[in-house]
């Protein structure tokens, strides 16, 4: 081990190099352990055990794709996937839209920019549990928003997402966007600030309107920022768990279940480890499917260069 290390960097100064590199290596032991044991080892372990019939305890009794077959035949999993798809698509579009619009508004050289930015970003400092509980209270049908609007005279007003299995996921969406859009606004604002002032001048000289300049010139220029935002939102969507637990706990019934919750329920409550492993492997697969095209776009060209 140490021999090989000394060979690589020994071109400059030979004798002390070995010792110095050794302390760098010793210092990196926690990182190496984390990378190999937890990240690689843990993931491989879970994927392997997803092909077994483990129930209460993990055991290596391989049953092929049985767990996956059962998973995709479970109604609860299908509802989870459907919810995540609806939440994901809506949250992606709305967060990007709101984030960019707010950033563009703040970038119009307005007064109190800092105040507005502070207001839009503060929910991001709060946890999903706090977010979920706050919105659970606001959306409470007896005392919350619905009751208030009815009190204003609109007697037939009905907005009770948390007790209506058809629209419960949108109740969670409102809270999710409230918590996360400030971050995207911040990233977009940083991106807008990075755009050369002269572009705006040139557009004005050419008589292009503000909205058109944004759509035709600024947004295409901000492609990397949008990709970063996209990756951030997407990785957040897959993790969706605490918000659901706090706001609805999967209810009413199982109508607001999500995959991350499915995994944890099966692993730690239903004591059906195999199902949990299979479901978590599916989550991993979905991340890989999203991540590989992005990594290819981001780093594929650079490596060749």
């Amino acid at each position: 081990m140490s021999d090989r290390a000394s060979q690589t960097t020994a071109q400059a100064k030979r004798p002390i190099q070995l010792f110095r590199n050794l302390s760098a290596k010793i210092a990196s032991v926690p990182m190496i352990l984390t990378a190999l044991v937890v990240f690689v080892g843990g993931t491989a372990w879970t994927v392997t055990h997803s092909f077994t019939s483990s129930r209460l305890l993990p055991k290596l009794d391989f049953v092929g794709f049985d767990q996956y077959e059962r998973l995709w035949n479970t109604r609860r999993w299908m509802i989870s996937i459907e919810n995540l798809a609806i939440y994901g698509i809506c949250s992606l579009i709305l967060t990007l839209l709101i984030g960019f619009t707010l950033a563009a508004l703040l970038d119009r050289k307005i007064r109190f920019e800092n105040t507005f930015r502070t207001i839009f970003l503060y929910p991001f400092a709060l946890s999903f549990v706090v977010t979920g509980l706050a919105w659970q209270w606001i959306l409470n049908p007896d005392f919350g928003l619905q009751e208030v609007v009815r009190g204003w005279g609109w007697e037939s007003f009905a907005f009770d997402p948390l007790n209506n299995s058809e629209i419960v996921i949108f109740g969670i969406l409102i809270a999710g966007i409230w918590q996360g859009s400030g971050l995207i606004m911040c990233i977009m604002l940083a991106g807008l600030r990075g755009i050369d002032e002269d572009i705006w001048k040139a557009a004005r000289v050419d008589g292009i309107g503000t909205v058109k300049t944004y759509v035709r010139i600024i947004i295409p220029m901000m492609r990397p920022v949008f990709i970063t935002a996209l990756v951030l939102i997407a990785s957040g969507i897959i993790k969706l768990y605490d918000l659901v637990v706090a706001q609805t706990n999967g209810g009413p019934g199982i109508s607001s279940e999500v995959p991350a919750k499915y995994v944890i329920e099966y692993m730690f409550r239903a004591q059906n480890l195999g199902q949990g492993f299979a479901a978590s492997t599916m989550m991993l697969v979905s991340v890989i499917v999203i991540l590989i095209p992005w990594a290819y776009l981001e780093f594929g060209g650079r490596k060749r260069g």
């Binding site: 960097t9 993990p58 507005f116 509980l133 005392f143 009751e147 492997t281």
Partner: protein, 301 residues
């Protein structure tokens, strides 16, 4: 075109000043104010609800300000609210969270800063490979690693212990923090590092005497990132601890979503605010640094 550039050099930057009440401004500020209502509403409702008595809440308007301000819900949330059989309020979760937070933040930042330092100035064979694995690991859903970690913690006897949770936070904070420190240390000029080496300083000598003092701002950024992240964690808390060692977020969820007894919305909201208080204080106190922290966390690579 040439005319415009000449003018812009002499004049202040930005668009021409306009009248304060142009239709553009009314639209602009109107939209911003309207959106601000959506963002501020939950905070307002939480504060207002937590200061009302239950009879007043039952009269039914979440938006109306309290007629009679009472701090009883706050006292009850802190010291008397029940989770299961324990009726000593959120204070227990608060102290658990503090006990988790302090060592986790120190340990994760210490390890990650040394990692970042080694990765920027003391590269060894394979160091980049480990770093790449670490960064890819940041994208793996936690769910795929939850159970193997349970086994690991059980093996070393830390399952259900606060120490185990500290370890978990250190491990999962490592990718982003290492990246943060690596990028910062890489930007420190190579000459400075070489000069120190010529003077005979070793790995730790350079770290403690040169790198550490220069990197203080990035340490603050890392601290903000970790304190809010660890305080707000729910997933690891619920899995790797037991009821006596539940962190604040988990205990809060148990208090509010417990099915027994009469729902005391004012106590619930006071408890929710109490849990959100720590990150909120950090957010409002740190200002620009918080933004820098999340920007550093956001722009990977």
């Amino acid at each position: 075109m040439a005319d415009a550039t000449v003018n812009s050099a002499a004049e202040p930057r930005g668009p021409k000043p306009r009248r304060a009440f142009s239709s553009r401004n009314i639209m602009l500020y109107g939209t911003l104010l309207l959106v601000s209502v959506y963002y501020l509403l939950p905070l307002y409702v939480m504060i207002v609800t937590s200061l009302k008595g239950m009879p007043e809440i039952r009269l039914g308007n979440v938006f109306s300000p309290p007629m009679e301000i009472t701090f009883q819900p706050w006292v009850k949330a802190w010291a008397e609210a029940c989770t299961g059989i324990n009726c000593d309020g959120l204070s227990r979760g608060f102290w658990n969270s503090v006990q988790i937070l302090v060592p986790s933040v120190i340990l994760s930042i210490a390890i990650a800063s040394v990692n970042g330092y080694a990765l920027s100035h003391w590269k060894f064979k394979g160091s980049e490979v480990f770093f790449t694995i670490l960064i890819i690991g940041a994208f793996i859903p936690y769910q795929t690693m939850l159970y193997p970690i349970v086994i690991l913690l059980r093996e070393i006897g830390l399952m259900g212990d606060l120490g185990g949770l500290v370890l978990v936070h250190t491990v999962f904070g490592m990718p982003i923090l290492t990246l943060l420190f690596r990028n910062y240390f890489t930007s420190i000029p190579e000459e400075l590092f070489k000069a120190a080496r010529v003077d005979g300083a070793g790995f730790w000598g350079i770290y403690f005497r040169i790198m550490l003092p220069m990197a203080l701002p990035i340490f603050v950024v890392a601290m903000i990132l970790q304190v809010t992240g660890i305080w707000n964690d729910f997933l690891f808390g619920v899995i790797y601890t037991k009821p006596e060692t539940y962190p604040m977020t988990v205990q809060l969820n148990n208090i509010v979503n417990s099915v027994q007894g009469v729902k005391e919305y004012n106590v619930n909201m006071a408890a929710t605010l109490l849990t959100g208080l720590v990150p909120l204080v950090i957010y409002f106190a740190s200002g620009k640094l918080f933004v820098r922290g999340i920007a550093a966390g956001a722009v990977k690579g």
